[in-house]
Symmetry: C2
Subunit: 142 residues, 2 copies
DNA sequence: CTCCTTGCAAAGCCTTTGCACGCTG
DNA sequence: CAGCGTGCAAAGGCTTTGCAAGGAG
């Protein structure tokens, strides 16, 4: 679980400075299996340390995305979700009812990708996409 | 090309009033094969008639979505796209480079839907989703 | 000591809401 | 004539930007 080191090393390599804030943010992302929004990261850190600002989180996330350690995915609702790329590429299935996020793994991803590629020659950024719908548990007959 | 009538009739049926603004908006959507944003509709109409406000467009679009004549799809960038449901369900493939929007038709849609359903029991709102990537023409070897 | 980073505040962007006037039916 | 629909202005939520102070290397 020393993803943090990996992350920090890569940042150092690229000549970025390692600050407490960046460490905290990287930590939050690397330790979490979850997908996080900027605000989620803020909420995770703020209780323990107040030396962190939302602005900084956004800037650091942009930086991590540039470096290629994290990928950005658009939730439909105007928010943006960030995920460590350590987990490999995956598609996000967001339940419109309960808000849960299911990851569709490489297999399904590849299948869909193939179809988009074959039918339209379209090279999709599937890791960056969230598909909304109803998860297994919310498909109530009501 | 009298989709407008269909649209307006349905609105009347539901007890909504037909106003010049609603006619213009419905016209813009029905006559266009394109996917439109609220602002796009505004820009299409404003040159000819100034009797229209962005607020009204948003309210009318909400209404059309409620009635089921139009569907809402999330572009990744915080904007929302609206499409006449006359064209049937389709998935939007948005090129991150040239911005073009390709529609993936029912076949592909069904295939993807099946896979999400089979693998995760996830009932996707595929018509509401835009997948970003590179279109056929932008996949340059650079 | 240099200058990359941070925090604060304010702006930006798209969308929504409140309220009084006006027009549809 | 009743009440829905409109425009205007302002707020709202998330994200970005400007600028001076602060910390990393």
């Amino acid at each position: 679980m020393n993803n943090n080191q990996t992350f920090l090393d890569k940042l150092r390599q690229r000549g970025y400075r390692i600050t407490p804030q960046r460490e905290m943010i990287v930590n939050a992302i690397a330790h979490s299996d979850r997908h996080m929004t900027a605000e989620g990261i803020f909420d995770a850190i703020h209780p323990r340390s107040k030396a962190l600002n939302l602005t900084t989180i956004y800037r650091t996330l942009d930086l991590l995305v540039d470096v290629g350690l994290v990928s950005r995915a658009d939730l439909g609702n105007g928010r943006t979700m960030y995920t460590s790329d350590q987990h490999g590429p995956h598609l996000h299935l967001v339940c419109r009812q309960c808000g849960c996020v299911t990851d569709a793994g490489p297999t399904l991803l590849a299948a869909i990708d193939d179809q988009l590629q074959a039918s339209f020659g379209f090279d999709a950024d599937l890791q960056h996409v969230c598909i909304s719908g109803l998860c297994k548990f919310c498909q109530t007959p009501s």
